[in-house]
Each structure stands twice: as C-alpha cells, then as structure tokens.
C-alpha cells in the first residue's frame, strides 16, 4: 500500500497576553514569524512539537494551539490552508493606515 508523502508541520498558537499569532521556533521559544518556525519533518518531531504545545498551554503562555501542515518554499514555510496563511501574513486587506507598519514587520 502506498503511503501519502509526509507533510511538514509547524506548531502555532495565539499568545495569551495579547492574542497575537505565534509559532514554535527552533530554540523552543514562540516566535512572531512563521519563517522562524521549527519545521517538523518526521513523526517524532511532530510528537515533540505536540508535547511542547501541550506544555505551553498548561503553562498558560499560549492558547488555541494547533499543528498545521506547511509547504516548504524558498521564501519559507507556507501553510496549505488559507486560514493559516492569513494568520501568518495578517489580514489580506489594507486596513487602518497606522497598522501597516506593524503588520509588515510581523509578516
């Protein structure tokens, strides 16, 4: 039986204090850009990030913890789901002008 090719995963959540989208980085810290996310490329790594997520939730550092699938591209990991791409890049619209600086920084 043919098994589906493994899809790289990253761990994402929202920071407890301000709700901002974060991803688990390679150093075990939560980072503000998906480009700095730790890429789980095999099952053991996925188990490890899942455990890290459960711990961070229990430690009340983050909420809404999820493992998501990403495509590895030259410009960094790109989530397959639009919802996760919008979380990573910010709203797809040009909203209030004061916001643009902060968003481009985060993305």
């Amino acid at each position: 039986m043919k098994t589906a090719p493994f899809k790289t995963r990253v761990l994402t959540a929202n920071r407890l204090s301000d709700g901002v989208s974060v991803w688990l980085g390679a150093s075990g810290e939560w980072v503000l850009s998906i480009r700095d996310a730790f890429l789980a490329r095999h099952d053991e790594a996925v188990s490890a990030i899942e455990a890290a997520g459960a711990q961070a939730l229990a430690d009340n550092r983050v909420v809404d913890v999820n493992v998501i699938e990403v495509e590895e591209t030259p410009t960094g990991p790109r989530p397959y789901r639009l919802r996760e791409r919008i979380r990573a890049e910010g709203p797809s619209i040009d909203y209030a002008p004061v916001a643009s600086a902060r968003v481009s920084q985060a993305a």
């Binding site: 301000d18 909420v63 619209i93 916001a99």
Partner: protein
C-alpha cells in the same frame, strides 16, 4: 437618551472589577483557558485569528458624542486606530490585548458603556430602527421599549443559559428598517383603533445555516404586557428549545418543529400565569423611561428649504448626497443623515479613530448630540436641520465620510470574514471591495438604483446574505474559497430568504457574476422605477440563472 441610574453604575462597576480580577488571575496562570473562556465571552472578549476581539454593546444603536469620542480613544490607545461597526449595531475592536481589557472596560464604564451579553447563550443587545425617534413614519419612539427589555434581560438569572443566543429587534414603523422578521423575537410598535400602544409580536426568525422568517404570534400585545409576554416566550423556549445540537438550538427550529399554532398556545398558557402580575409595566415606569428619550427641542429652521434648493442647484455632488443620504424627518425643517461607512473600495463598517472623533464633533455641532449605528454598518445623525446640511456635508467630505451611496449597490454589508474571524471559511471584505470598485461610478450606481448586496464569510450569516437582494456566501471547497450567490432576499416588511442561483464562483469570478446579474436586471426591468427586488419578484430567477450559467444551470 437613557442615562445610567445608581443601580446601573454600581452593576457595571462591579462587573468591571470582577472581570479585571479574572483577567489578572488568568495572566498569572491561576485560571485555565477552559475555565476562563466562558468568563471572557460573558464580557465580550473573543479570540480571533490574529488577536483578541472585543465587542462593545451599543444598546439599540444609540450613542452620544461623549461615547463616540471614547470609542475613538479606545481605538487609538488600545487598538490599531480603528473599529468595526457591526450588523448588530455594535462595535468590534480587532486587536486589543487581554492585559488591556480591564482598562478598556473601565474607560467604557465612564461613558455608561460595556460589553456585557455581547456573546454567549443569553439575550443579546436589543436592536432597533436606526431612525427611531426621528422618522416621519413611526407611531412612537421604539427605543424606550428596547431599553426596558435591556434592563429586564441584563444578567436575568433565568435566561442567562438559554439553549442558544437570543436576539430581539424593535421597530415602530410599517416600513421595517430593523429586520424584525429575521430575529428570535421581532416587535413592531403600533397603535390600535383607540390609539393605544402595543406590539405585533413575531417569533422564530433567524438566518445562520437554517434561514427562517419569523411567524406572527400576536397582532396586538398591549404595551403594559410586554415583559410578561416576552417572559412567557422565553420560558417556553428555555424549556423546549433543543440543547442536544447547537445547530438546532435557536427558537426558529423550535417554532419550525413544533408548529407555530401549538407553540403559540403554549406561550399563551404560560402567559396566563404571568399576565397582570408583577411583570406588568406600570404606566409611571413607561413614562419615566420615555422621558429619557424625549426628543431634542427642534426649533423652526424654515430658512433651510430655500438654502437647500440653492445649494443643490450649485453643487451636483451635494445634491446627490442629499438625494441618497438624507431621509425625511418628522419635523419638516430637518432631515435624518446617513453617514456612509462604505467609501468606494473601502472596508464596510470600518471607521478610524479620527473619523469617530469627527462624527462626534459634528453630532454636537449639527445633530443635537445624537448618533446612531445602523445594522447596515453606517452611522446616522438623526436630527439635522436642512439649513445645516451644507456645512455638515463639507465637513464630512473632509473626513472621507460623504460617500453618497446609502441603499445603493456599493452600500454593501460584509462580515469581517476570514481576514479576522476564527469561524469564517472565506474572506468577505475583499469581495465587497472589488464589487464596490467595479460599481463605484456615481452615475452607474444611480442608474442601478436601490440594491442591497450582503456578504457573509461563513454559514453563520453575520453578513445577512440570506436577506440580501443579492446575497453572497463564502465557503471553503477543496481548500479554496468559493462564493455562492443567492437572489431575492429581503430584510424589510416584505421579508424573503434569497434563493441560491447555482454552482458557486471562484474569488476572481464573483464580481463578474454580480455584473452579469445587474446587467440582466437593467435589460429586463420595466423602467428605472422598477427596483432590482421588484424586478426579481416579477421575473423570477430563471433569466438570471440563464445569464450566469447559460445551458449549464441545471448541472448545479
């Protein structure tokens, strides 16, 4: 407008204090997310895609300038400089930090505002006709009754854990501007043959995944019986409403599954226990609440008639703004001004902090300090002298708030959609923006005439797509956005649920599809006097389907 009494002040202050303590304990890790989530939701705090969201109640959509300045201040200080006015006449902030919530709620309490019951399975903000207290066609101001319902329903112990959320809307005109037939309870204030006030009562309307129009259960409920009768409805719903399936828990499903006659009989039987009891509204209490809503003293300003005619003649842009955005006031020297939050290509319902401040200032200068939020995501100054329209217009132009499109094709309702909302499956705002740009030309919009487009990014239907003349629903199909179009919906006194045209459209095809629909209408209408909805009702869906899909319509 209503002013808090000592009880209200103490109650809101106590809630702010409780929630501040809960937030502090959450941030210290003393409360888990599972325990905290229902507490934050009771105070209007949601978690969205990018941040928390705070939904602030604007009771029956009425604000004064001090409150609007405060909303601007909050947008500037704790958010990213803007806010989003919603289809429930509320305002949402998209980026507040949890740690700032206590400070925000304290600031809101200073101006008699809060976020209580803007979430959860309770009675939500009672909405009302945005022209209440000013419209030429109303029998009385419906807001005192909305305020009575607000006071009665605030942390009502019996109705704080209903099967599902519960929305009440009140209007006082034959012409329904509050969409009462798509609410859990819709109330139309009216007079009987002897001039006494009472209500036509509708129940079981709603949108979401199962759109159903409300059924009338009482043609004339005397005003004194308002709370006893509504309590009877709530009791029957609370007892029999389904709790096994969240998608079947609204009262509309109970009405549908039980049948309106049987349910009316149950409500009537329950009411017999309550009628003429302690819930009967004393005349003095009704009068006391009414006094809060006493209309401003509107002096004669007859000079406005001549001036207005002259200004319109000299400035066609001003004339078209007056034509679209100013509606007749009960006082002939005044008008009701809609401030469009739908600039061409803009985000429906969004206002910057500077714009909010400007509206507040203009409300003081020209509008007797009254502001309304409409369920169509615009603002209203309900009492403006015709003689003040020209300077008001100039000031609005300077703030980017003078788009002359009230009720036109670019006056689009759109939910926040997948750009912000954790529930959404597809984006709404970019779809609205593209349609707005395509039809932005003033002459083209004027030619098309009255046409309501409403867009939701998921089946929950916050964007009211079921009652859009043209409704657009975003769904996710195979990981991509797809948009279903429906036609023939309406949220007014001739309410109807739109019918899906056929297969959905990809994001880059939606605006073309809307254009096809509009062109079909323009080609088939009897004349400019036949509106889109009237034309649709006359000719049906087939010509539109044929234009959209050609021979493949049936395949969908």
């Amino acid at each position: 407008m209503y002013r808090y009494d000592e009880f209200d002040h103490a109650f809101v202050a106590q809630r702010v204090s409780q929630f501040s303590d809960q937030v502090a304990r959450r941030l210290k890790g003393e409360i888990s997310e599972d325990a905290f989530k229902p507490l934050r939701l009771m105070n209007g705090v949601y978690l969205q895609l990018h941040a928390y969201m705070l939904r602030v109640a604007v009771p029956y959509g009425t604000l004064n300038s001090r409150q609007m300045h405060k909303l601007a201040h909050i947008a500037r200080t704790y958010d990213r400089g803007y806010g989003h006015f919603t289809t429930r006449q509320n305002i949402q902030y998209n980026w507040p930090a949890l740690k700032d919530m206590p400070a925000i709620l304290e600031e809101l309490a200073e101006v008699e505002m809060h976020a209580i019951q803007t979430s959860g399975n309770c009675i939500r903000n009672v909405t009302a006709d945005h022209f209440a207290g000013a419209a030429a066609d109303e029998v009385a101001d419906p807001r005192p009754y909305a305020e009575i319902l607000r006071q009665w329903s605030s942390v009502h112990p019996e109705f704080s854990f209903l099967p599902r959320k519960f929305k009440i809307a009140v209007t006082a005109s034959e012409r329904d501007r509050a969409a009462i037939q798509v609410h859990d309870i819709g109330l139309q204030l009216k007079k009987d043959g002897e001039g006494r006030l009472g209500f036509a009562v509708w129940i079981g309307g709603g949108q979401g995944r199962t759109p159903i129009l409300a059924k009338k259960v009482n043609d004339f409920l005397p005003e004194a019986d308002l709370l006893s009768y509504v309590t009877a409805i709530m009791r029957v719903y609370n007892l029999h409403g389904r709790r096994d399936n969240k998608y079947k828990a609204r009262i509309k499903i109970l009405v549908h599954e039980t049948g309106v006659e049987k349910l009316s009989a149950e409500i009537e039987a329950e009411w017999m226990h309550l009628k003429d009891g302690e819930l009967t509204l004393p005349e003095a209490d009704i009068a006391a609440i009414n006094a809060y809503f006493a209309p401003p003293a509107l002096g004669a300003r007859a000079e406005g008639w001549g001036e207005l005619a002259a200004w319109k003649k000299s400035d066609p842009d001003f004339a078209s703004w007056v034509g679209r955005n100013v509606a007749p006031h009960r006082h002939p020297d005044y008008g009701m001004v809609t401030i469009s939050l739908k600039p061409i290509g803009g985000i429906p319902g969004d206002a910057s902090a500077d714009q909010m401040d400007a509206v507040a200032r203009l409300a003081v200068e020209f509008g007797h300090d009254e502001i309304r939020v409409t369920h169509e995501q615009n603002l209203v100054l309900p009492h403006v002298a015709l003689a003040d329209l020209e300077p008001l217009y100039r000031a609005l132009v300077a703030e980017g708030l003078a788009t002359a499109n009230a009720g036109l094709i670019t006056d689009i309702i759109a939910c926040p959609g997948l750009d912000y909302c954790a529930l959404a499956n597809a984006r709404s705002i970019p779809v609205a923006q593209e349609i707005s740009k395509r039809f932005g030309d003033a002459a083209r919009q004027a030619e098309i005439g009255d046409l309501k487009i409403k867009i939701s990014g998921c089946i929950n239907a916050c964007g009211h797509h079921h009652v859009g003349h043209i409704g657009i629903l975003g769904v996710e199909k195979k990981g991509a956005e797809l948009y279903q179009i429906s036609l023939g919906g309406s949220g007014d006194e001739n309410a109807s649920i739109g019918q899906i045209t056929g297969r959905g459209f990809e994001p880059d095809q939606v605006t073309d599809a809307i254009e096809t629909i509009v062109d079909t209408y323009l080609a088939l209408r009897t004349g400019a006097e036949e509106t889109f909805i009237a034309c649709y009702r006359r000719i049906g869906a087939d010509p539109f389907k044929a234009a959209l899909y050609g021979g493949e319509a049936q395949a969908a």
